[in-house]
Symmetry: none
Subunit: 116 residues, 2 copies
DNA sequence: GGCCATGTTGACGGTATCGTCATGGGCCGG
DNA sequence: CCGGCCCATGACGATACCGTCAACATGGCC
């Protein structure tokens, strides 16, 4: 049926885990799994269901929509997801600081692309 | 364990379905289910897994995060908008830096709220 | 070489969801 | 009253995931 759907999930799971610098064992411990379970997920052998999907998303701090390969409003990726999630919990002052920093970094990147 | 987790899902599913003016039968047809399956979901008898969760979210045009009861109140505001508009144009490296910084700031904020 | 962390794979019984179908109750319009 | 929706509920075998454990391949690193 939708065997490729779980393939997308497998890819994203691995991507999100590595973005946080976690081993499968660490993630397993964090989310309450057996290490092998994570491997099964990432190799497409199993598809998580309900509770486990939520536990994984919670532990990795990504959206379930992104894990499932659904289109998300903004740009996506584990880093973006992480930024998105945490930025909701900072003070107004710090949020402004983050925004200005992002602006500077974006300008720097634009410059670099112009003359490499 | 997570009997209440599926209760939240049941609530949200019904809410989303009624918001679109669909009967259980219509939604079933739309998403490729048996009508009884929808009823089982909404009464908490069953929890959907992977494929079915995605099919439901697609048919109802809602996020899986919301269906699962994950608090993803899409924050907004000019600073937030600015942050994400620029964050789309920074390098992967800088994005990671921003994400980690947001994480630190969020943690700091959480700490401050605990003992003012 | 040996050691340890990491990841893959395959098995096992237990359990939940799967699709399908049948039944029964409530409610409304004809 | 009765046919038509709507929904809830319960069964059935089939399938899939669950947790657990064991075995094995890697790839550093001493």
């Amino acid at each position: 049926m939708s065997r490729d759907a779980s393939q997308i999930f497998a890819k994203r799971l691995k991507e999100a885990r590595e973005a946080k610098g976690l081993s499968q064992a660490k993630l397993a411990e964090l989310a309450g799994f057996q290490p092998s379970a994570i491997s099964h997920f990432e190799t497409g052998g199993r598809s998580p269901s309900f509770d486990n999907l939520k536990r994984l998303a919670d532990a990795l701090e990504v959206s379930t929509d992104w894990l499932l390969g659904r289109e998300v409003t903004h740009s996506s990726g584990p880093l973006f997801e992480s930024l998105f999630r945490h930025a909701e919990n900072v003070s107004e002052e710090d949020l402004g600081m983050l925004a200005r920093m992002a602006e500077r970094l974006a300008a720097k990147e634009k410059d670099k692309r112009k003359k490499p």
